[in-house]
Symmetry: C2
Subunit: 620 residues, 2 copies
Amino acid sequence: MEALLHQSKAMCPFLKKTSPATLRSLSTATHHSPGGGTITNLQFIARRCPVMNKALAVQSARMRTSNYTSAAPSIGVVKSMLAKKLHTSAEKKANVDTRIYRKRDDVLPGRVESAFAKSKDTPTPGPKPCAPTASKFDYEGFYNKELDKKHKDKSYRYFNNINRLAQEFPRAHMSARDERVTVWCSNDYLGMGRNAEVLKTMHHTLDMYGAGAGGTRNISGHNQHAVALEKTIADLHGKDGALVFSSCYVANDATLATLGSKLPDCVILSDSMNHASMIQGIRHSGAKKMVFKHNDLVDLEAKLASLPPEIPKIIAFESVYSMCGSVAPIEEICDLADRYGAITFLDEVHAVGMYGPHGAGVAEHLDYDVYAAAGPGASASPTKKGTVMDRIDIITGTLGKAWGCVGGYIAASASLVDTIRSLAPGFIFTTSLPPATMAGARTAIEYQAHYQGDRRLQQLHTRAVKQDLAERDIPVIPNPSHIVPILVGDAEVAKKASDMLLSDYGIYVQAINYPTVPRGEERLRITPTPGHTKEFRDELVQALEGVWQKLKIKRTSDWRAQGGFVGVGVEGKEMQVEPLWTDEQLGLRQGVDGEVLQEALEQENRPEMPAVVAKAAAAA
Amino acid sequence: MEALLHQSKAMCPFLKKTSPATLRSLSTATHHSPGGGTITNLQFIARRCPVMNKALAVQSARMRTSNYTSAAPSIGVVKSMLAKKLHTSAEKKANVDTRIYRKRDDVLPGRVESAFAKSKDTPTPGPKPCAPTASKFDYEGFYNKELDKKHKDKSYRYFNNINRLAQEFPRAHMSARDERVTVWCSNDYLGMGRNAEVLKTMHHTLDMYGAGAGGTRNISGHNQHAVALEKTIADLHGKDGALVFSSCYVANDATLATLGSKLPDCVILSDSMNHASMIQGIRHSGAKKMVFKHNDLVDLEAKLASLPPEIPKIIAFESVYSMCGSVAPIEEICDLADRYGAITFLDEVHAVGMYGPHGAGVAEHLDYDVYAAAGPGASASPTKKGTVMDRIDIITGTLGKAWGCVGGYIAASASLVDTIRSLAPGFIFTTSLPPATMAGARTAIEYQAHYQGDRRLQQLHTRAVKQDLAERDIPVIPNPSHIVPILVGDAEVAKKASDMLLSDYGIYVQAINYPTVPRGEERLRITPTPGHTKEFRDELVQALEGVWQKLKIKRTSDWRAQGGFVGVGVEGKEMQVEPLWTDEQLGLRQGVDGEVLQEALEQENRPEMPAVVAKAAAAA
């Protein structure tokens, strides 16, 4: 950069005679351009230059006169432009985007001549550049305004470069491959992403059937893997049909949009904390929507009762809500659905693999003993008429969280599934998931249907973390699930906390901000896995303690003194939230005190891998 | 099934005394039920049975009284029910869905008692089943009505179970693993799905980084693979930024929806043949839409000119249109965009990997020599100001066709990309693509950026097929691309042709019907790849000839006699459609006659794999 400026100064008479200080001030002060926008004084002057004028005109035609096109930026200006453009967080070795440099090179005065020299590399002459006028929309300016808003309210996101290591779960490296961090916020909830059986299946399938499906499901992308996976999913949930999509985002969006638009006069009742994918699907359907208060049966019933009995109604909700870990009153919602002639649409993405004796989700879990008695393996579990899972009309799930791969699905009656298959553009007009992905996911489902050990350990580790944090007055949002959301309540502080955990303690927990959670409810979201043994847990708790102290973040007692917030410090609430997995289901003795839990944890650190599991997985 | 009926007859007094003929007729004749629907006579009688009545009430509560719940179906009825429920085509060994049998088992008279016996397996008592009343919506009935419509207009789709073999490209097996068919309709256009470098990268990445990303891009799913892939894509297209999505369906939908909803008073001008993903995105944006006639610059300009100059406008179109192979006048559209203050949104999913000296698409191809002079490798190609590709504002592409994997992307200015990254729910709220997928796709892109051999062979094979079919008067829709659409013009006949090709000739070409193409324009869509050598091509042409004769399908001359249709048999048109790849670019001598083409093909059958290609792919 320095060499370039030096060269430029030598070649350009203007730069030669103008001091750096003057250049700097010229490049920041603005001027109203003839076209009606604002440009820097430097750009204004540059237009008088026979060489720069041409370069600017072409640049502007492309960039619609944004402040990022100053002709001769100082190093300081370039650096600040870089800082704004980079969205990957600066870690120890920041991933600097060198392409920005190249663009600036293209318009620096000293280089203009060579850029436009007649040579083999001269680009084919383009259209006569139109100088920007007031009558053309300033697209780049608009994008930058939108980005500025995100910077201002601290919701602008900096992605962290986290490379989760299959052979060192739950560790990862960042840019530098020899450094290590511990990941505490992944949705690879059971570590299936590195499961030996899953990987074996995927390796084999890659070699036999290649990297991609090669087409939509209608045009060469339907195969034995799709058939087998959909059957496995349908069997798991006790449904007649299942349909796999690129992701559960797509499954939710496409299914709700199709049903809501096709069912005549359909009304969709949607839990206030529903995921974006469902909100979008409902919006896309054009159907009337009624939002009911989160998990509030009274509100839901009132809304149902206000509607004509004979019109189609869909109650859309989740089993486990991702960001706060709350669990829906599923059975009662089914009762309401029956009473008012509605169908139920239940998103179990944060439950499948982790709840129920076969990992079919919370709906299965609510009839735990019935399904446990069905014996090992999803395919052995016949339809259980009248159980909660049986009563749900549409269950949606993901292959990308507890089952470690990617993809999504619905499970429902054969007719409903066939209707979505036949009508939903989001299913029809897209390339099928790769065979290896489908096969790997199926292995993961079968594995977890036969083996309790992983989800049991996940639950035990979660209890341990929640207990440790409660002892230190660190504000966990109470909930009955495997999710440990820690309330911060400020976007900037949450980011600082996350950055500090990473830089000072080598612990990765992403700060969760708007729009994933409402403004003012920013949090850290921790997800203990079977791999988070005591050593990791102790590190985490110490680190959180350190960060809470250094940044003086509110504790549970602080929230309580304020009257409580999003469940934290709300009197008596902490005592009332029983985990979904009971002591009995986890095989713990009555009452869980520190000693019992510790004993259970020590036993579980050598989980059995019964022959039947390996065999079932191999057969899958 | 036989044994079951036998057992049932022994146990049930009614079945014992009723002849099969009577049963059959009872199961088809209908009766008006008290609830207002229709049921078979058999069901009506069954309700008098103390055992069946209970079973039917529970069944009905779930299945909302559809005709598929007859109590004691005859084998014939079961078979027809199976045929209706199955959407996978019956091949030599049809994939019979045995779950249907299980459901029928549940309600056969002889088995009712055991199903409801008090045992460990008794389901938790469910809600009192509500007998269906007129005041509740008949969901299942509705789904079945929608499906009936699809059956009636022959647009109901039967998926073929096609398992493309990586080691025998372009062959596949169906249900039976030892049988072989040749696939002629896949979008794995260059066979990259089985490319050794791609697979090697994926195997390695699976072992190092596991099966799934484990989170959204914000929460643990952003990693070196995403950074590297997005950089490769941006460099390939000469843009400052790129963003990867689950698929290009999602990329198109999310990007158009976000831009169209955020840009104030935005108008989106959309080519009449645009893909469903763009149509959905535009719809979801809520922006005003104007559809211009396919590739019609006059119509497009008139519409642009009718709008205020200062409002934001997006011209959305494709480079190669999938189902007819036409190519857009991209440069002229860029001229119009400049003149009227619009931005261009160009979907190159059917072009990337296959056009341009680096496989960057048709936009790159239009400045072939400029980009070819940039030397091998996408990363060596600096931004070429004023070239067509440079002038396009947003390029979208897929990783799932010519590059053989799965996924989609946009490439555009840094600000636009950052805006979509920050605002589009379809990007934000979904699990990131797996590391192995991203790494494999990147290897494929780099490979094809360094190597011309595959797309050259693809073009030569396409020319050969088009020539052979023209000689036989088989109606190819003329176009300048690699796609060979063969007009049939009738949904039922197209399906018959496809089925016959498969069953009689072992050739898989999916029939394309509504909604992928308009009704009445049904076709077979053939996509020659580098793997379709002369032997395969001769088989194809013979098979098509055979099918055209047997089914008496219209030939080109027939369409011509009728005045032509969708470009087929339109006077003079066949002579005017020059391939996008010129003889010179393909390295052919002036004029392509049979002998020259054959010679070129023979030479190409031993394509070189320069050391630089292997090296570049390994470095990726």
